[in-house]
Symmetry: C2
Subunit: 117 residues, 2 copies
Amino acid sequence: MLIGELSRLTGASHRSLRYYEAQGLLTARRGVNGYREYDEHAVATVRQIRTLLDIGLSTDVIRTVLPCVRGELRDPAHLTWCDDLRAVLSRELATMDDRITGLQRSRRALASYLAEA
Amino acid sequence: MLIGELSRLTGASHRSLRYYEAQGLLTARRGVNGYREYDEHAVATVRQIRTLLDIGLSTDVIRTVLPCVRGELRDPAHLTWCDDLRAVLSRELATMDDRITGLQRSRRALASYLAEA
DNA sequence: TTAGGCCCTGACACCGGTGGAAAGGTCAAA
DNA sequence: TTTGACCTTTCCACCGGTGTCAGGGCCTAA
């Protein structure tokens, strides 16, 4: 499948698909004409990428996370890898909590500022 | 007072002070040599700017807000202006609430993702 | 052969506050 | 007069995912 079809199937723009590839999240064979050729797994992969992006993870984190999510690693390797994943996500969760806390503090500051104004 | 002293008194870098000026938040006379010369009110102004920045307002919003905060406008003009200010801040507050809500949704998504992993 | 649709790479722009470098002018004290 | 601290402006970089443009190759049907 070429990039246009993958784009249609996933809703990701051509630009985004090439970006995911540049970030190491997505791979493609190349035809003799240089066109990217995706296999049918690509659709699921792109959907997973976009889900994780929506959640708020960076491509950097997603690159770490994806092999486990996709179940690429078999046997014991999979388990230890996913333990690492859990650690990464936990850290990410903590970061998010920090951001939320900060925003809430700002919100309170603004609200009291508003009350005084 | 020159920029170095204002910087020392407020903790804002030279770079930031010039940026605030470029954004229309801060004004300075110019000496014959072209140096910026600040009056003593500048210290308070810069502190107010940084407070508002810390709260999470953009320079754009701060530019709108500042004249009221500084009490520059006298009499009835001040009051109506500050009503407008209240409206701006309320909108800003709503935006913040949206951001917080979004982040919290992401956080939940991530947490449940983590629980499944 | 040409039109039109598909694909390619590379590069700039966005946002917003800050850091930093480059290249130069000013001024006071030694 | 020289040193060194202080000031000036202008420009690039950061972050990160996406839009968009330029300039070009490929392929198929008319």
